[in-house]
C-alpha cells in the first residue's frame, strides 16, 4: 500500500532531531534507514504524522571508530553495507561482521542502519542478539542529555526498547574482544535473507594462561521468543572449565528448555526448540575452535556449517 500522509523533516543534527521529536511527541518517529519502518507503514502496522529523517546526520567523522580502550563505536549514520565491508570490524569485531550479511538482502543493507536495527528491537533480528552477546552499551540522546544503557537492559519486548519516545539512539559501543576469545553466528532460514526460524550469536572468552579455562560465555538466541535472550544460568555451566563436549551438550539442552518459542506458519515451537539445541551445540564448538582449542566438531558437522554459512 502507499504510505499514509505524513510530513518529512530532515534533521540537520542530533539536537535538531531531538527538538523535532519533542515538538511533535506521539505523532513523530525517527526515520533512519526506513527498511523496517517503511514496511510497517506500508502494511498499516504503524502510522506517524511526522518522520524525523536522521539519514544525513553524523555524530563523528567516522561511523565506525575505535577508542583508546580497544572498544568499537558504531554511530547512527552507519549503514549495514558500510559495516558489512568494514575491514576494522572484520578484524576487531568478527561477530558483527559475521552477522551483518544475514540482515535482509543487499538492497536492504544499502539503506538500513546498524543503530536503527537495534533501536527497532525486532526479536527476529540479528543485531540485537549480537549486541547482547557482546555486552554492548547503547548511548541514547534526549532533551535532558545523553545516557547509556547496557544491552542486557535494552531489549524489553517485541519492538520495545529502553529508548524513550523523545530519545535517539546515537551510538553503540562494543567492548574489545580480547585474546583467546571465540565467537560464532548462525541462523536457520528457508531463503537467505528471510527472518530466522532460530538464530544464535555467541561470544566466549578464555583465560590466556593454560589450561585456558572459560572466563565468560555469552549465548544470545533470536527468533525463539518475544525478545532476544541471554541465558546466565546456562552460561554458568561453562565458566571455570576447559571446553568439553558434555558441558556443551548440557548448555545447549538447558537453553533449549529455557526458551519460549512460538508456533507460526514458518515453523512450530518444537522445531525452534530443536534448532536451538543444534545451533547452540555446534556454535559453541565452533567458538571454542576459534578461541584456539582443538576441534570438538565432527567432520560432518564442519561441512554442514560451511554449507550453512553460505
Amino acid at each position: 500500500m502507499k504510505f499514509p500522509r505524513f510530513e518529512h523533516h530532515t534533521a540537520e543534527t542530533v539536537e535538531h532531531a531531538i527538538a523535532l521529536l519533542s515538538q511533535y511527541g506521539d505523532e513523530a518517529k525517527i526515520l533512519a534507514g526506513g527498511q523496517s519502518l517503511f514496511p510497517m507503514m506500508a502494511l498499516r502496522m504503524s502510522r506517524y504524522e511526522h518522520l524525523i529523517d536522521i539519514g544525513r546526520v553524523s555524530v563523528s567523522d567516522r561511523t565506525i571508530s575505535e577508542s583508546s580502550d580497544g572498544s568499537t563505536t558504531i554511530s547512527l549514520a552507519c549503514r549495514h553495507s558500510t559495516a558489512e565491508f568494514s575491514a576494522h570490524l572484520a578484524d576487531r569485531q568478527p561477530l558483527i561482521s559475521a552477522a551483518v550479511p544475514w540482515i535482509g538482502h543487499r538492497a536492504i543493507r544499502s539503506r538500513g542502519t546498524i543503530c536503527g536495527s537495534i533501536a527497532h528491537g525486532d526479536p527476529a533480528a540479528e543485531l540485537p542478539a549480537v549486541a547482547l552477546a557482546l555486552d554492548a552499551t547503547m548511548t541514547l540522546a534526549g532533551p535532558g542529555g545523553t545516557r547509556k544503557v547496557a544491552a542486557a537492559d535494552f531489549f524489553l519486548g517485541t519492538y520495545e526498547t529502553a529508548t524513550q519516545p523523545d530519545e535517539v539512539l546515537v551510538s553503540i559501543n562494543f567492548p574489545e574482544m580480547g585474546p583467546r576469545s571465540g565467537w560464532a553466528f548462525e541462523e536457520v532460514c528457508r531463503r537467505h535473507g528471510d527472518y530466522a526460524l532460530a538464530g544464535v550469536a555467541l561470544a566466549i572468552r578464555c583465560s590466556v594462561v593454560s589450561p585456558h579455562t572459560i572466563e565468560n560465555a555469552a549465548v544470545a538466541m533470536f527468533s525463539v521468543g518475544s525478545v532476544p535472550q541471554r541465558f546466565p544460568d546456562a552460561e554458568r555451566i561453562l565458566v571455570g572449565i576447559a571446553p568439553a563436549q558434555e558441558a556443551i551438550d548440557q548448555t545447549a539442552e538447558t537453553i533449549a528448555t529455557m526458551i519460549e518459542p512460538h508456533d507460526d506458519l514458518h515453523g512450530t515451537a518444537e522445531y525452534r526448540r530443536h534448532l536451538t539445541r543444534v545451533l547452540v551445540r555446534r556454535n559453541l564448538a565452533l567458538a571454542f575452535e576459534r578461541a584456539g582449542f582443538d576441534t570438538l566438531l565432527g567432520n560432518r558437522t564442519r561441512r554442514d556449517l560451511d554449507d550453512a554459512h553460505r
Partner: protein, 164 residues
C-alpha cells in the same frame, strides 16, 4: 527536488510520502521500476542509487535529493546488462518479465563488484529478488553464462565502452 536519473539531472515535484519508485514511474515515466509487494521482500522495484542496489519502494523520493539513480532504462544499455539480456534469452530466464528489471539491477551491481561469482554467490546475491515463473535456475545460469562471456570478452579486449 533534484536528482540525477539515468545520467540526466531531473527537477520534479513530489509529495513527502511519495516513494522513489512512484516518483520514477509517475514523474519520469520510468516504468521499468515495477511495484510488486511494495514493502521490501519481492525486489521487483530494485534500482541503483549511487551505484548501490536499493528498494525504490522503501525509499522516499525526497531521500534521493542529489543522488544518482539508475534504472534498467539506462542500465540495460551498459556493457554488463547488454550481455545479460542476451543470456537471459538463451537460458529462457524470463516469462512474464515482471521480476526481470529488479533482477537486472541486482545483477548489474553483482557483476560489477564480483565479476567472477560462484553459483552460490549468485544465489545469495539474487536471494532478494522473487520470481513466480521460472524457478530461478535459468536466471542463475544466465548470470554465470554472462559472467563467463564478459570475462572472455575482456580478456580478448573486445568489450564495449560503457559499464553498467
Amino acid at each position: 527536488m533534484t536528482l540525477i536519473v539515468n545520467g540526466a539531472e531531473c527537477d520534479i515535484a513530489v509529495d513527502d510520502r511519495q516513494t522513489l519508485a512512484d516518483a520514477l514511474r509517475e514523474k519520469l515515466g520510468l516504468t521499468s521500476v515495477h511495484i510488486g509487494c511494495e514493502h521490501g521482500p519481492c525486489g521487483a522495484c530494485t534500482v541503483l542509487v549511487d551505484d548501490e542496489p536499493v528498494r525504490a519502494c522503501l525509499m522516499l523520493a525526497v531521500q534521493a535529493e542529489g543522488a544518482k539513480v539508475d534504472t534498467v532504462e539506462s542500465l540495460a544499455e551498459g556493457e554488463v546488462l547488454t550481455v545479460v539480456r542476451q543470456t537471459l534469452t538463451e537460458t529462457s530466464a524470463f516469462q512474464c518479465g515482471f521480476c526481470t528489471p529488479g533482477f537486472m539491477a541486482t545483477i548489474a551491481h553483482l557483476l560489477r563488484v564480483n565479476p567472477t561469482p560462484t553459483r552460490d554467490e549468485v544465489r545469495i546475491a539474487l536471494s532478494g529478488n522473487l520470481c513466480r515463473c521460472t524457478g530461478y535456475q535459468p536466471i542463475i545460469d544466465a548470470v554465470l553464462l554472462a559472467a563467463d562471456r564478459l570475462n572472455g570478452e575482456r580478456q580478448q579486449g573486445t568489450n564495449g565502452v560503457d559499464c553498467a
